[in-house]
C-alpha cells in the first residue's frame, strides 16, 4: 500500500531542491498575479534582469542589498533554531538605527574620529539589548515573543514614520527607502558609504561562515541544536536551555545591529541617511528558504536581493507598485514553510511480498 510516512532525516540535496522549488513556485504565482492585473510580465522580467545582472553597477546594488538581508536572515535563522520566534527584526533594526544616529548626533562632545566606532557600538548594543529584553520577557513573564515582537515592529515603524513626517503604514513596501529623521553626523572621516557598500557584504558572509562553523563544530552549537530540537531532552542532558536561548538572542541582536549600522552609513556624512524598509520581513523569508541553515542564508539573501533590486527598477521604469515585493516575499514564506513540512515525509512504496500493516 502506498502511504506517507515521516522521515527520520531529510537528505541535504532534497532540502535544497525543495527550497529552490518553493522560490520558483512563489515567483510563478507572483508573475501570474501580475499578468492578471495587466502588467506585461516579459517586459518586467527584462527590466529586472537588466537592472540586476545587466551591469557591474547592478550587481553591486544586489550585493549591497544582500548584505543586510544576510545579517537579518542569519539573525532570524539562529533565533528560530533555538526556539525563539523573533518576528520583530524589522523593529529591532529601526530601533538600533535610530539610537545609533542619536548617539552620534552631537549629544556627546567627542572628536569626529570617534563617530564611526561610536555609531557601530551604539547599534550593536541596542540590537543585542532589544532582542535580549524580549527574550528576558519571554523567559521570565511567559510573554509570547512572536506577538510581542510583531507589535513592537508596528510601534517602531510608526515612531519612525511619525518622526520623519511620513504617512503611517504598519506594512510599508519591502525594499522602499525611508529617510531617517536624524541627520547623520559622520563628517569625518567620510567612510560610511564605502563601509556600507564594500565592507558590510564581507562582514555578512563571514558572519554566515562563522555561524555555520559554530553550529557544526562547537559544543555550544550542539547545545543550540539540542535546545531547538527538544527542550525537555536538552534539559535532561543538563543543558541550561534559557541560558542558551539568551546567548543566541544577544548574538542575533548583534547581527541586527550590524545591519542597522550599514543602513545608517548608507549616505555620506552630514546628509540624510535612508533605511531600507522590510529588511526584517525579507530576512525572515531568507531564513525560511535557507531551511534555517547559516550557509543557506547566503544564496537565499542574494536571490531575494536580486528580486528586490529588480522590483525597484521596475517601479521606476514601468511603474509597477513596490508592494509587489511584499506579495512575492509573502508567497516565498508560505512556499518555503510548505516545502519544509513536505520534506519531512516520504512516499512509502510497497515492496514485493510485503503485506499491508
Amino acid at each position: 500500500m502506498i502511504r506517507l510516512e515521516r522521515r527520520a532525516h531529510a537528505p541535504t540535496a532534497l532540502v535544497i531542491a525543495a527550497s529552490i522549488t518553493a522560490a520558483i513556485a512563489a515567483l510563478v504565482v507572483t508573475a501570474l498575479l501580475l499578468a492578471l492585473m495587466g502588467v506585461s510580465v516579459p517586459s518586467l522580467l527584462g527590466t529586472m534582469l537588466l537592472a540586476t545582472l545587466g551591469s557591474p553597477g547592478g550587481i553591486a546594488d544586489v550585493v549591497a542589498l544582500a548584505a543586510p538581508l544576510m545579517l537579518t536572515g542569519l539573525a532570524t535563522a539562529l533565533a528560530f533554531r533555538v526556539g525563539l520566534i523573533n518576528l520583530g527584526v524589522e523593529g529591532q533594526l529601526v530601533t538600533a538605527a535610530l539610537v545609533s544616529l542619536t548617539a552620534t548626533a552631537g549629544v556627546l562632545p567627542l572628536p569626529p574620529l570617534t563617530m564611526i566606532p561610536l555609531a557601530i557600538m551604539a547599534a550593536l548594543l541596542t540590537g543585542a539589548l532589544s532582542v535580549g529584553l524580549v527574550t528576558l520577557l519571554k523567559l521570565r513573564l511567559d510573554v509570547d515573543e512572536a506577538i510581542l515582537t510583531l507589535l513592537l515592529n508596528v510601534v517602531m515603524l510608526f515612531a519612525l514614520q511619525l518622526l520623519a513626517g511620513a504617512a503611517l503604514s504598519s506594512l510599508p513596501p519591502i525594499g522602499a527607502e525611508q529617510a531617517l529623521p536624524i541627520r547623520n553626523a559622520f563628517n569625518f572621516p567620510d567612510w560610511g558609504p564605502a563601509l556600507h557598500r564594500y565592507v558590510e557584504p564581507l562582514v555578512a558572509v563571514i558572519a554566515c561562515l562563522l555561524a555555520f562553523a559554530l553550529m557544526r563544530f562547537t559544543i555550544w552549537g550542539l547545545d543550540i541544536r539540542a535546545a531547538g530540537g527538544s527542550v525537555t531532552a536538552a534539559r535532561f542532558v543538563g543543558i541550561h536551555v534559557s541560558l542558551v536561548q539568551m546567548k543566541v538572542a544577544l548574538l542575533s541582536g548583534v547581527l541586527i545591529g550590524i545591519a542597522a549600522v550599514g543602513e545608517v552609513m548608507s549616505a555620506p556624512g552630514g546628509s540624510t541617511s535612508t533605511l531600507t524598509l522590510g529588511l526584517g520581513y525579507a530576512g525572515l523569508a531568507a531564513a525560511f528558504l535557507s531551511a534555517l541553515e547559516p550557509l543557506g542564508v547566503i544564496p537565499a539573501a542574494l536571490g531575494i536581493a536580486m528580486l528586490l533590486v529588480g522590483f525597484r527598477a521596475a517601479n521606476q521604469q514601468i511603474g509597477v507598485p513596490l508592494a509587489v515585493g511584499n506579495v512575492a516575499i509573502a508567497l516565498m514564506m508560505i512556499a518555503a514553510l510548505l516545502a519544509r513540512s513536505a520534506v519531512r515525509y516520504q512516499l512509502h512504496l510497497p515492496r514485493t511480498g510485503e503485506t499491508a500493516p
Binding site: L87, D142, V143, D144, A146, A323
Partner: protein, 323 residues
C-alpha cells in the same frame, strides 16, 4: 484653565464620544473574530492583512457602485476566503501558526497595496466614498420614563453619541453579544472552547479538531474583514492605508490582554478606542503641536504594557500552542 480641567473638558464633548464609538466598532468586529479563533486554539496573525483587505475590497465595491451593505458583504466574504486558506494551511497542513499568519498578513496587505497602486495610479487625489450615514435614535430619550434619568455629566454626552451612530456600529454590538452567547451557552461554543483548551477531548468525542479550527478561522476572518469594511465605509476621510494601519494587530493584542474573554475584550477595545480618540482630539484642538508628534503611539504603548504585565496570568489560564 488647569491642565486637568482641559483634559476633562474633552470628555464632555459629544464629538469625542462619537469618534470613540466610531473607532470602537471596527476594532470590535476584528477583536471578536480574533477571540473566536483564539477560543478554538487558532492564533491569527493574519488579522492585519485580513482587516486591510476587508477595508480595501469594501472601498473598491462601493466605488464600483454597489450599495453599502452589499459592499460590506463582499468585504466580509474576502475574509471568508482568507480564513479558509489560513485555516487549511495551519490546521490540516500543520504549518506553524505564527509565521504562516505573518505571511498571510504580508500577502493580503501587499496584494491590496499592489492593486491600489495599479488602479489608482493616475488619480491625483486619494479615492473617497460617501460613508454610511448615521441613524438618529435620539427618540429613545423622549420615551416615557426616560426623563427620569438624571442628566449626568459625561454620561449624557456618551449617550447622545451612542444614539447617533451608523448602523454597522449597532450591528457590531449585536454581533459581539451573539458571539458571547454562542461561546458561553451552546454545545458548539463548548466544543470550540474544548478545541482550544484540550484538543484531545474533542478527538475522544469523535469530532474533528481540524474541522472546528478551520470553521473558527473562517468565521473569525469573516468578522475581521467586516471590521475592515466598517472602518472604510464609516470614515468620512478619503481612503488611505494609514487609516487602518496597525488596527488588526491592535485588535489581536486587545483580545490577548483580555485573556480571550468576551466582556474584557469589549472593555479593552472601548478603552483603546477612547485613548485613541482622546489623543486625536487633543491633537486637533491644540493644532498638531510638536510635543504630540508621537501621541498616536499612546494607545499601542499602554496596551503593550498591559499585555506584558498580564501575560503570565493569561498564558497560564489559556496557553497558546507553541508553534
Amino acid at each position: 484653565m488647569s491642565g486637568l480641567g482641559a483634559a476633562l473638558q474633552v470628555l464632555a464633548d459629544t464629538s469625542f464620544w462619537m469618534a470613540a464609538i466610531a473607532l470602537t466598532a471596527p476594532l470590535l468586529y476584528a477583536a471578536m473574530g480574533a477571540m473566536l479563533c483564539g477560543q478554538a486554539g487558532v492564533l491569527t496573525l493574519g488579522i492585519e492583512g485580513i482587516v486591510t483587505s476587508g477595508a480595501f475590497v469594501a472601498l473598491l465595491s462601493t466605488r464600483a457602485g454597489t450599495a453599502h451593505w452589499t459592499a460590506l458583504v463582499i468585504a466580509a466574504s474576502t475574509g471568508t476566503l482568507l480564513g479558509l486558506a489560513s485555516g487549511i494551511l495551519t490546521s490540516p497542513l500543520r504549518l506553524p501558526q505564527r509565521t504562516t499568519g505573518l505571511a498571510i498578513t504580508l500577502l493580503a496587505a501587499g496584494t491590496c497595496q499592489l492593486v491600489y497602486g495599479i488602479v489608482f495610479a493616475t488619480a491625483a487625489t486619494p479615492p473617497s466614498i460617501v460613508p454610511f450615514s448615521s441613524i438618529d435614535l435620539s427618540w429613545i430619550w423622549r420615551l416615557p420614563y426616560m426623563s427620569a434619568i438624571p442628566d449626568l455629566p459625561y454620561v449624557s454626552e456618551f449617550g447622545r453619541a451612542l444614539f447617533h451612530a451608523t448602523s454597522p456600529v449597532y450591528l457590531a454590538l449585536i454581533t459581539a453579544l451573539a458571539i458571547g452567547l454562542v461561546i458561553k451557552h451552546t454545545p458548539l461554543g463548548l466544543a470550540l472552547r474544548a478545541c482550544g483548551e484540550n484538543p484531545a477531548a474533542i478527538k475522544a468525542q469523535g469530532r474533528s479538531v481540524h474541522r472546528l479550527r478551520v470553521g473558527a478561522s473562517i468565521v473569525g476572518s469573516t468578522l475581521m474583514a467586516m471590521g475592515g469594511g466598517t472602518l472604510a465605509l464609516t470614515s468620512a476621510d478619503a481612503f488611505s492605508f494609514s487609516l487602518l494601519s496597525g488596527r488588526g494587530f491592535a485588535a489581536l493584542m486587545l483580545t490577548m490582554l483580555a485573556g480571550w474573554r468576551i466582556g474584557r475584550t469589549f472593555l479593552a477595545v472601548l478603552a483603546f478606542a477612547m485613548v485613541d480618540a482622546y489623543q486625536l482630539h487633543l491633537q486637533h484642538r491644540l493644532g498638531d503641536p510638536l510635543a504630540l508628534t508621537l501621541s498616536p503611539l499612546l494607545p499601542y504603548a499602554i496596551a503593550l504594557v498591559v499585555l506584558v504585565a498580564t501575560s503570565r496570568s493569561t498564558m497560564r489560564r489559556f496557553p497558546l500552542s507553541a508553534d
